[in-house]
Symmetry: C2
Subunit: 117 residues, 2 copies
Amino acid sequence: MVLKDVKVVKIEDVEPVPVEQGEKTYIRVLFSVSEAPTYSMRIFEMEPGGHIYAHKHPWEHEILVLEGRVRIRVEDKVFDLEPGTAIFIPPNRVHEYWNVGSSRARFVCVIPVRPTA
Amino acid sequence: MVLKDVKVVKIEDVEPVPVEQGEKTYIRVLFSVSEAPTYSMRIFEMEPGGHIYAHKHPWEHEILVLEGRVRIRVEDKVFDLEPGTAIFIPPNRVHEYWNVGSSRARFVCVIPVRPTA
């Protein structure tokens, strides 16, 4: 059911759900693919040592790091990202994430509600 | 030209551009509507006293407040938002923003690259 009205949501009020294809990593969905008309906004939280396993899918990511130190591999390239850094990951690229810091890492990740490519 | 490869960008490395329909407010475009396939991610910065005038358009916003205190009016409703709070604003609603705090306010705002409604 696509949102027809304003929705206000605090990150802390959304229950964190463990990411199945990862370790020590949680997702909080702010605007879901079923309620958003075009793109869904989610918060990922990775404890120290957290890992999201390598995967790929036919849609892009636009990510902004909010806290901590996030290492992202996209195919054969590795990026170490700090708060205030954003990354665009094109569709159909193998990507993988690690928290390489000693504190919680947090990033906002936007995906389209329908496959892009 | 839609992005075909990874793009990494730091907020601080993007030149802030004054928002024409506002005061004391700047935009930094991380992934533009011409380079992103589905949605564009932008950072807004409002100095104390900053204001974005009332306007509307046929696309939604998904916004996450990063810093400061942002007041948003959507039609006849007013929301005071703090860091870690997100808001979905549907297409075709009159909306208006103020920095109501004493420090810089900053939020990430995502829009679709094509009109939604």
